[in-house]
Symmetry: C2
Subunit: 413 residues, 2 copies
């Protein structure tokens, strides 16, 4: 019998009514002949409440105790979910991470999965039971409870799909799938029917945020078919899968804007070996994550260096570079926090030319100035003025026809 | 180093402020040189909320899932308690029932403890840590979570005291100890300084309800010194211990009134072998718990039979005896639900005469009519009219000087 894993996020099971609705999804899969494993997150704002309770007692709570505390949220949901299924005469059994020996390393609040006891789950499925597993949590080898960090329940679901050899991993959420761009910024954004792991990894890290990067990485590694879909609507959502031939016909799959970032530039740094290393060592010590580093030579002796950081890291990053300024003989530091990064992503870029040209032309026609450009194999990103980001995104979406389903693009409107 | 177990009930740790106050109790014991093991219940009304959440989804939730759900309440408290200690630089570690292998039988919602891994706790204590254990919960041999039923955290505490060889088991609660009677019914009730397991067992089952019978039974079996005391006040509470010689000097240790009961009488039952058995088999089938059975012969052929039940069982009990009435040739059934049971308890009764006489005289002087009387080795109980119960209790308390500390009694006022 084929196995399906269904994961329900916090908003999809926030109250009794929503748990009952989620249970109906499960029953539908059972009626189709699947053995079903459910992964559930904590209900709605439960985790936030627990964090608040913890911080009231200790502004810096020990991580082990934080995991011990937070794991209760998912434990509550899975038992309630099993009760909801029992109420309509479906036999279900709930498990904590520890009960299925979801073994992780010992890194509290951000643990990595090492192994899962699939046997215990198979045994229950073969008895005809629906198995409900608490997401987000595991145990280390000393039976301490660990949690998997942000988006951890997605990771649990994909890991279970791998361990159980599931046919598909459905991720139920409060949107109906992944769109070509954020519908709040471009209201005609089309829903994507099928997208590759690589594309979603670029889109997720750029802020699409529907599914956690780590889960997608896991899915890619083990080739798990993932289906992002709405918990309240019937229709199909977005399938994330390995790259299939027809994807190459779609040049650009999606576009994103990331606004919460800043740029720091060091002008006229002495162009001698070791200076760049010194600067980034300084930033690493200050725990600042750096992206999109660009160095340009301005003369035989001098270079300019710039990089992007998260806006919240700006104070720490400024302090760090000001501390190193004299040592690298930097003439001037500039900071921009009025910028945004606009990106287009598509595996089709590998085989199509003219993507960059089309993007830059669209921005030029919309009179958007481009501060700088970076690219990867399947992504082109432009830094633009933050207050022009909306206009820029719309111009790019229209240029690449991201308001239409993939198969209708390039046919004119 | 001597070990002390400190148990905090739900009202003693209902919010951050109270958890901090409880933590101070722990620290005081540490400063006195004890290794401290804390047992914590769920916070305040948490368990009630979880039960309500469950019933909203399923009026008859599977017991395994109920235990999986309810055990989260204690798990939350212990991690928060550890955080509170960490905040004031005391090193603490929390454990669920499963983590210390509190092994129970598989009777969900009412499991019995089989063994505890004391080694894991000793190891942490020897590292200088305060160990916080979730009360009320264990696991069965298949790692399913079980709970110990009502008053389960008291039982956890006493069981840990036994397993660890603790010097004392302190039970912190919202009263300052056990009183000679319920202070709400007799405001001058004196606090008892020391009382035997047997007396408290009689008082608890009669409704004193400060500590759970099962925990006291456990304490008696393994001779654990228990100390019931206030979580908000400094003073000593009530010590429960094995019978010590000076207890015999105290004739009556306490008095209770139990109001939520009813009496059923079967008049003129055929006095032939097997009839009583038939009647009580019927009641057992109806799951009615029966107490204080009295049978009296009225003639060679006929007997009267009466017994006490909990008031909530009255409808089921009535139905049961009406069903058997003709078979045992009973002439008439009577029911009284306007009654209360007044009891006095004391190990001193074993060696002192005149206790019954003193009680009946006090009731006669107060013009309280006695419906019936039952006794055990250390208890005398009278059934009285419910509306005379308060007057009756006061008369008995004054007769036995239950408004004075034990050592001052019999000296006149």
């Amino acid at each position: 019998m084929a196995i399906i894993v269904q994961k329900f996020g916090g908003t999809s099971i926030a109250d009794a009514e929503k748990i009952r609705r989620a249970a109906k999804r499960v029953i539908r899969a059972v009626k189709k002949g699947y053995q079903v494993v459910v992964v559930a997150s904590a209900r709605g704002k439960q985790t936030d409440q627990l964090i608040a309770d913890a911080l009231e007692l200790n502004p810096n709570p020990p991580r082990r105790e934080m995991d011990q505390l937070l794991s209760t949220g998912e434990q509550q949901t899975v038992s309630l979910f099993a009760m909801a299924l029992d109420a309509v005469d479906y036999d279900a059994i709930s498990f904590t991470g520890g009960q299925i020996r979801m073994l992780t390393d010992g890194v509290y609040t951000n643990a990595k999965i090492k192994s899962i006891d699939a046997e215990r789950i198979h045994k229950q499925l073969d008895k005809g039971k629906i198995v409900i597993v608490a997401g987000f949590q595991g145990i280390d080898e000393n039976e301490n409870i660990t949690t998997l960090g942000r988006g951890g329940s997605d990771t649990t679901a994909v890991a279970l799909a791998v361990a159980l050899g599931a046919e598909e991993c459905e991720i139920y959420t409060d949107v109906d799938g992944i769109h070509t761009t954020d519908p709040r910024m471009f209201k005609n954004a089309a829903k994507i029917e099928e997208i590759s792991y690589d594309e979603i990894l670029e889109l997720a890290s750029l802020g699409a945020g529907v599914i956690h990067t780590r889960a997608v990485g896991f899915g890619k590694k083990y080739d798990v078919k993932m289906h992002i879909r709405s918990s309240s609507e019937e229709k199909e959502g977005t399938i994330i899968t390995h790259e299939v031939p027809q994807m190459e016909g779609v040049v650009v799959s999606g576009a994103t804007v990331q606004k919460d970032m800043a740029k720091i530039g060091l002008v006229g740094v002495d162009n001698v070996p070791g200076n760049a290393a010194k600067i980034f060592a300084c930033l690493a010590n200050a725990k600042v994550v750096v992206n999109d580093i660009v160095q340009t030579e301005v003369s035989a002796q001098k270079a300019n260096l710039s990089f992007m950081i998260g806006a919240s890291d700006l104070p720490a990053a400024k302090k760090a570079v000001e501390g190193i300024k004299d040592e690298v003989n930097c003439e001037r530091i500039f900071v921009r926090d009025d910028i945004a990064e606009l990106s287009v992503v598509g595996v089709g870029m590998r085989t199509h030319y003219g993507v960059a040209d089309k993007m830059f032309s669209a921005l030029a026609n919309a009179k958007v100035n481009i501060d700088s450009i970076t690219t990867s194999e399947i992504r082109i990103s432009c830094i633009v003025n933050k207050d022009e980001a909306g206009k820029a995104l719309e111009a790019v979406c229209l240029a690449f026809e991201l308001d239409k389903p993939a198969e209708e693009r390039g046919r004119g409107s």
